[in-house]
Symmetry: C2
Subunit: 197 residues, 2 copies
């Protein structure tokens, strides 16, 4: 048998994750089974299980893929020595979200909403989503601290509480974009700049 290269493994893994995304977009997490993912991936059951032992492991991979890019974005923003304004950070995050949502292969924000619903019924998914969101929110805590030291936000307030609100803008944007349909990074940022200090 030929030796499977690392490149080959990465491509196979991506193929399975893409198959899982299309299943979830079509029927939600709860109804999606490993058998559905295997059928959609056009690989053998053995091949798929070689990468992912369960649906939950695939959920974790999808979340990892979607959120690692957001995390990189924070790294870029926070590396600067200049002032870090929350509105500017949120503008970048929302632009990034709108951009990845339009990529071929399915709107990842729709997968996110399915994951929220699944988390409420599936403790493993809850653990994955909770962990990822907690990590992402610590980035907003850093933004809050920076804005406090810049004097943009009252330094007397717990930065964790500020981070809750800043993080909360994101699902608010995603949900309105999907369900009401009239928000864009431009309209949302205009609203944000009007209300933020």
């Amino acid at each position: 048998m030929p030796k499977v290269t690392e490149e080959h493994r990465i491509a196979r893994r991506a193929q399975i994750v893409a198959a899982a995304r299309s299943c979830v977009l079509e029927q939600g997490f709860h109804k999606t089974t490993m058998a559905d993912v295997i059928a959609a991936s056009e690989l053998s059951a053995g091949a798929v299980y070689g990468y992912f032992k369960s649906k939950e492991e695939i959920v974790a991979a999808i979340a990892e893929e979607a959120l690692s890019a957001v995390d990189e974005l924070f790294e870029k923003v926070l590396v600067t020595d200049g002032p870090v304004h929350p509105a500017m950070v949120l503008e970048r995050v929302l632009n990034h979200i709108a951009e990845i949502a339009d990529r071929p292969g399915g709107d990842v924000t729709r997968i996110g909403v399915q994951a929220w619903a699944e988390a409420l019924r599936n403790p493993v998914v809850m653990e994955i989503a909770g962990g990822k969101y907690r990590m992402l929110r610590t980035r907003f805590t850093e933004v809050a601290r920076r804005a406090q030291s810049d004097g943009t936000i009252d330094a007397g307030v717990d930065p964790e509480h500020v981070a809750q609100v800043l993080f909360g803008f994101v699902p608010g944007f995603i949900l309105q974009r999907l369900i009401i349909g009239d928000v864009s990074p431009e309209t949302y940022t205009a609203g944000l700049r009007a209300i933020l200090r």
Copy 2:
């Protein structure tokens, strides 16, 4: 046969809606069937169909019940002649949400998250959710206009854009409360007051 009183009809209807809520909390909207609701309601199929022709009609009833109370809250807030501060309005809305979430019969915010996921797959639910959210958001547009005439928010910004952001705080709060678990109306309002003008 005895004549069915209006009171009796209201109680029966509430019994069906309560049964549907428990089904959705257990298995999500997508997996819930009319047969599940009928079984959980302990009424006959004919009795249930006498009130609701489809799962979607029950979804609409649950949404109506949950959101009409929020709408009344806005009416109370907006009736005043005094200044209407967005942070004050949001504080009241979040307190109300936290309060109804703790009522017996199941956390209605969990049903909300299930409805978001279902809306993305079911055009009828999308129509119901979109319509309800659009209506609720017009209340935030009124708040934005009032805050603009009070001078709390820049009058040069489209109040619809401000409303998008104000409305967006609510799903952001609900989601973190359910998935991260550490937000309360108090912490969120503290964060809000720190960042709002």
